[in-house]
Symmetry: C2
Subunit: 254 residues, 2 copies
C-alpha cells in the first residue's frame, strides 16, 4: 500500500471519465466494496499502475483469449458476456455467463496471470479492469473487502456445481427449465438492471452451448414450453411466464 496516492475524489469529479459515478449496478455488486470508503478514494487514478481501466468492446468480439497475460481483474459494467472452452472438434462449451455487475474471474487475484478460458462479448460490453496487483494488496489489508471477494468465489463455485448437476443428471427439458430458473434468480438479485427479471436476454444457441445440447433440440423444448404458456420467446430472448410450472418440470422424473 506504499503507492503514492496523487489523486482524490475531487480529482475524479474534475474529470468526466469516471463512469462509476453514475453506475446503476454499483450498490449491488462488488464495486461498492471496491469504490466506497476512504481507502478506495486514495487508489491511484493514473500513473504507472491505474487502479481502474474502463473499456468497451463490440458484440461477438473476444474480450480475452485463452493464454493471454492478464494483470487486471474484470467487472462487466454493461452488456452480457460468456466464458467458453474451445474444443479441438470446433465445438464450444459455455462455462459461465456474465450479466452486468459480474466479476469475470474471481480467482484472478490468486490465480496464474494467464487466461485459462476465453471470454467473449455476447452484446456490446462495457467493462472495468481493476489492477490485479493493487487489488491483491487491498485484499490482504482489508478484511471486509476480502470477505466480500471470497463471497464471489464461493458463488461462482456454487454455480459451477449447479451446472454440473444439470449436465450430469437432468434430461434436456429439465436442464432448460432449470437454466431459466437459475438465470431468473440471478437477475432478481440485481434490481438495478432489471426492467423485468423474467426476461432473459440470451439467444437459444447460447443456452444450447451451455447445456451441452444442440440448438435444434433447445428450440423444440422451448417450443413445447411456449405451447404450454410457460415461456414466451423471440429472437435473442426468453421470457419466463409461469415460474411455478417451470419449477414443476425440474422436480419431475421423481
Amino acid at each position: 500500500m506504499g503507492k503514492a496516492a496523487t489523486s482524490s475524489v475531487q480529482v475524479r469529479n474534475d474529470r468526466e471519465s469516471f463512469p462509476c459515478a453514475e453506475c446503476q449496478i454499483r450498490p449491488f455488486n462488488i464495486c461498492k466494496a471496491l469504490l466506497d470508503g476512504e481507502v478506495a478514494a486514495q487508489m491511484p487514478r493514473e500513473g504507472r499502475v491505474d487502479w481502474q481501466a474502463h473499456k468497451k468492446i463490440a458484440a461477438h468480439k473476444i474480450i480475452k483469449a485463452v493464454g493471454e497475460q492478464l494483470d487486471r481483474v474484470y467487472v462487466v459494467c454493461a452488456g452480457w458476456a460468456f466464458r467458453f472452452a474451445q474444443l479441438p472438434n470446433g465445438r464450444r462449451q459455455i462455462l459461465s455467463i456474465f450479466a452486468p455487475g459480474d466479476v469475470v474471474t474471481p480467482t484472478r487475484p490468486f490465480d496464474e496471470d494467464v487466461v485459462g478460458f476465453s471470454v467473449q462479448a455476447l452484446t456490446d460490453v462495457r467493462y472495468c479492469g481493476y489492477s490485479r496487483a493493487l487489488l491483491k494488496d487491498r485484499l490482504a489489508a482489508e478484511t471486509p473487502l476480502l470477505s466480500a471477494w471470497t463471497d464471489l468465489i464461493v458463488t461462482e463455485r456454487k454455480q459451477n456445481f449447479d451446472l454440473l448437476i444439470d449436465l450430469g443428471s437432468l434430461s434436456a427439458e429439465e436442464r432448460v427449465a432449470d437454466f431459466l430458473l437459475r438465470v431468473v434468480a440471478r437477475l432478481e438479485q440485481r434490481p438495478s438492471l432489471v426492467q423485468d427479471p423474467l426476461v432473459i436476454p440470451l439467444p437459444q444457441w447460447l443456452v444450447a452451448a451451455a447445456l451441452g445440447l444442440t440448438p435444434e433440440h433447445v428450440s423444440r423444448i422451448v417450443g413445447g414450453f411456449r405451447q404450454q404458456r410457460m415461456v414466451e420467446s423471440g429472437r435473442g430472448f426468453l421470457r419466463v411466464v409461469d415460474l411455478r410450472q417451470l419449477r414443476r418440470i425440474v422436480w419431475l422424473r421423481v
Copy 2:
C-alpha cells in the same frame, strides 16, 4: 493468534496420537504448509479449540451430510471419498472425488458453515479436521499459507471446469477416456501414495455417476477399451495400460 500455546513439538512427540508424524503424503499436500514451521508448532493441541482432530470412518458411510454445521476443514489422510448431490429422483451426481491428501472443501474457511453437498467415504477413510476459525486466522496472518491455500481453490475450480467440459461436450467414450487421464494426472502429482499411478482404485459405478452415464454403459465402454488393450479392469479398479491411445480417443471426433 493470541491463543495460549500450551503445547509444543515435544509435547506432541510425547503422545502417540499424532498421526501426521509418519504421514507419507504430508510433504506433497497442503499439510506441509499447515504443519511445518514455527507458527504451526504453537497451534493449540488441546483445549477449547483443537487445531487438529483426527477421525476414522468406514467405507460407504456419510462423512458429512448436506445441511450439517461444520467448524472444521477436512483433509483426507488415507482412503478415497466423494462429494455428491442427491436429486429428488434418487439419482446422485458425483461432484468431486477425493484422493488421499485432498482438501475436501477448500472454500470452507470463507464459506458458510453449513455443508452444501454431502461427502461419503468410498473406502475406509482417515481424515483430519483443522479448526476453521484458527485456520482463517492463520490465512489472514501468513501470506505464504494463504497463497498455498488459494492454490487449492484454483485447482478445484479448474477440475470443475474440466468436468463441465466432459459432461457438456464429449461423447460417453470420450468422457470415460478423459476421466481416466485426469485421475492419472492427479495421482502422478502424489508420488507417495502411488505404487502405480496408472491404477485407479475406483469402481465403475462411481465413474458412471461422475460422468452422468449409466453403469451398464460405462461397463460396455470399459469393455471396449479392454479389448483394445488400453485398460485392464477388475472389481473396483481400472488400470491404464496405453496412455497414448487413450489420449487419441479424447481428441477423436475432430
